[in-house]
Subunit: 217 residues, 2 copies
Amino acid sequence: MDTAAASSPNAVLRPGIAERLWGASRIEFSLRGYHGARVQGIARRAGCNVALLYRHWSSKKALYLDVLRSVYQGIAREVVALMEQGRGAPAVVGAYLDANMRDPVGAQILIREFLDGGPFLSQLVAAEPTLVEPVRRAARAIASTDGASEVLRPGLDATLAVLSIGGLAALIASAHEASRPFFDEPIPTEAWRRHLYDLLLYGVLACPAQVGGPLPP
Amino acid sequence: MDTAAASSPNAVLRPGIAERLWGASRIEFSLRGYHGARVQGIARRAGCNVALLYRHWSSKKALYLDVLRSVYQGIAREVVALMEQGRGAPAVVGAYLDANMRDPVGAQILIREFLDGGPFLSQLVAAEPTLVEPVRRAARAIASTDGASEVLRPGLDATLAVLSIGGLAALIASAHEASRPFFDEPIPTEAWRRHLYDLLLYGVLACPAQVGGPLPP
């Protein structure tokens, strides 16, 4: 990756050390959050020493900001791509559920950031205001009646709706196994997805449109 | 089994310090989760030394289990009490929102436990199976049509619905400030509550009943 890494014989013999550090960072931050994560823990997970990590990132904070930005952008891009395959609220709800369920590690990093009050996400947005654009697009899409048979429930705030949908999708994607004590049998991820899709879609649509026909799959 | 009495803040320790240790534990676990919390951090927040804490709890795990059980029971009791003031889905949704919003610190402890996969909640439930009873009661109440004009949406699983309602309520109660970058002005807690009440209630009710009249406040 760079000349510094090449000076370490071990690194040369192990291609992809940067990738392993990256993956290890995602796991550590998802399990522990920013405050609980330890640089030593990340290096151990990646099977390298801390000095090697510090050649790529100057501090835990710098590494976390990179990981958080990548997770946020990755899920947001996936949401936008999936959303554009359909229209209106059904497309937005399905996109948030699938984007988060495809990256449960990333979803958990986001939820832990939200629980901390979102300080680093705020910092990223302040430096790069276009980061909020995917949420704005989802809010416009969910409110769009263009060619769709579904109509948004009157009085619903589209941005609050999008953040609720995204929050619940990320929470269940990363934490649905915690529901185990309340059921005799484990609930498959697909059953959670169907349940949330219906719950959220009925939650945002006006009734007459729903009564008019079956919901899209 | 009632360990709560023995572990209640004023059971053994001199009044004042006991409450401070208990409150400090709640804060530390809510901000850091089980893995990130440190006994030294709790003692520092309480303004006492670690030895005093260890006089009452043998380990961080013992303390966490007491705090988690107390939070879970406290919110569950509040949910049941609020739920019994009304009927059907409106009462259940309102009860979960209010119980979590009245104890955002407790709500955050629960969410962090869920993100960890719920290992300690599972342990508590295994030792004391009646802990799941409030969720069962809420599931029966939400599905109840007894005297209520609202009818649950056909096909909805009442337990999945209750866990989704509880999860979103706890998440927003403890993390809604993280939505700040997406709005020009802060969203008051009461506006979040109204939004979630409508979203979740429309999400679980069948349409014809909703069309028939205005939703309860």
